[in-house]
């Protein structure tokens, strides 16, 4: 079968149509010429004669373009000279958009399906990217986050891998540690915040000394906790999130040193964290020192471990180091081996 498209496209070229429109016309006319050619062959004509007769359907060199000119004038594309700033950079785009809109208006069903498909696709992509961005792409607002790990107990027999630590575990960990810079722990809590407005329940966390330095963050306003504030019986101090500072303390720089009431007790606000800092979860708005007392027993288990690996130490090596802690606990408690093991997880 002869290829009619080059001849058709050559005759359409003077019209300077948009590429999709030109291709559409060429495809349709080529099909007609194919049918005509087949008809002539079937009638007994020789191939070359059938070819010439079929090609003659296009008439003179400029006949097709003359006939199409007025019809297709809305699809003209103004010439864009390469290398010149013609100022018509978007004229072809506008014409293509107008053509697309015209075609969609003529096919409302197809347009509805196309728009719905696009909307679903865009929505799904946005949702997926939001998750990927939050989980994988967006950098954690901590110094060298790859070196920071969470520490739990795990027990496959129980089906759990994030069993909290107790204060005694924390003390043993600090005493026997070789893999971490400075072990820290934290525990989440809910506080009743009382102010001139309606009481609110605010999520917060108690943190051990070195918590913020482990993460490599510090307050943007005020300071971190003083050593005396982190000891049992020390002054009740609190660091607040930027969100809390804006909504409850009016974003006032003079709020540092001001007292707020949490759980019926007066806490002095000593610092405001950066807006990007929301650890251990998005809902946490307050941080206070844990002020841990020496334990008298194993338990309760409410603490989560947080530590920065020493340079050159991998999470696997850290896990092995924690196994020594686990062994110490078994010796001390004479507990049977239930299959539990330390679990060291990247942040």
């Amino acid at each position: 079968m002869p290829d009619w498209k080059p001849e058709i496209l050559r005759r359409l070229a003077p019209l300077k149509l948009s590429t999709p429109r030109e291709a559409e016309i060429a495809e349709e006319l080529a099909q007609h010429l194919d049918d005509r050619y087949q008809e002539l062959l079937a009638a007994g004509e020789a191939e070359d004669a059938a070819y010439r007769t079929s090609l003659g359907e296009l008439k003179d060199e400029d006949f097709l373009a003359r006939n199409l000119k007025r019809v297709e004038r809305n699809f003209y594309r103004e010439p864009v000279a390469v290398g010149k700033g013609s100022g018509n950079l978007f004229s072809g785009i506008f014409q293509d958009v107008r053509y697309a809109l015209r075609m969609l208006r003529k096919s409302p069903g197809f347009a509805a399906v196309a728009i719905l498909t696009l909307a679903l696709g865009i929505g799904a992509n946005t949702a997926i990217f939001s998750v990927v961005n939050a989980v994988l792409l967006r950098a954690l607002p901590y110094r060298m986050p790859s070196q920071i790990v969470m520490v739990f107990w795990s027990n496959p027999a129980w089906g759990q891998d994030r069993i909290p630590l107790c204060v005694a575990d924390f003390d043993d960990w600090k005493a026997l540690n070789h893999a971490f810079v400075e072990p820290t722990v934290f525990g989440k809590n809910l506080y009743d915040y009382t102010s001139s407005q309606e009481p609110q329940q605010i999520a917060g966390a108690g943190v051990s000394p070195g918590f913020f330095s482990t993460l490599g963050v510090e307050p943007t306003l005020g300071r971190g906790f003083l050593p005396e504030e982190e000891k049992p019986g020390g002054r009740l101090a609190v660091i607040v999130s930027q969100n809390f500072w804006v909504h409850n303390l009016h974003g006032d720089a003079q709020a540092i040193g001001r007292n707020i009431t949490l759980d019926g007790q007066s806490y002095v606000v000593v610092g405001v964290m950066p807006g990007s800092f929301r650890f251990p979860s998005e809902s946490v708005e307050l941080w206070e020192p844990l002020r841990l007392k020496p334990p008298t027993r194993r338990g309760p288990y409410f603490l989560r471990g947080l530590a920065r690996l020493r340079p050159g130490v991998s999470p696997q090596q850290a896990r092995a180091d924690m196994a020594a802690v686990s062994e110490r606990i078994r010796e001390e408690t004479h507990a049977q081996d239930t299959g539990g093991a330390p679990n060291v997880m990247p942040l």
Partner: protein, 116 residues
């Protein structure tokens, strides 16, 4: 290809082309080649449109909203562009048919009277 190149025949063909096309696709959608063959066959070969004439006409009728063209792909075949008459096209066809019949009747009355 015109059976005659006389100016009156060309003008008659041009004036009736839209009527012919709308009439042929009124019954069911047809593609361009089918339309051209039907015109040639039903006119006994007296009226024929080349590709370079037919498709500009089809596109013009489509721009006016009298025809709606749609690519259709049938199993085992290349996709083809089928044209069907729109609601507006039906109204135009009905109007043109009335006008054409009145015109022909008027011509007949005059010519028969003159040649009687």
């Amino acid at each position: 290809m015109d059976t005659t190149t006389s100016i009156p025949a060309v003008e008659w063909k041009r004036g009736s082309a839209e009527l012919l096309i709308l009439s042929l696709v009124e019954a069911r959608p047809r593609h361009g080649y089918e339309i051209s063959k039907l015109i040639e066959q039903r006119s006994g070969g007296t009226i024929r449109f080349h590709v370079a004439s037919l498709y500009p006409m089809l596109y013009r009728l489509e721009r006016r909203g009298w025809l709606h063209g749609r690519w259709v792909e049938k199993s085992g075949q290349r996709r083809r562009r089928y044209y069907r008459v729109t609601r507006l096209g039906r109204r135009v066809l009905a109007s043109q048919l009335r006008g054409w019949r009145e015109f022909v009747a008027g011509i007949n009355r005059i010519t028969e009277a003159e040649n009687a």
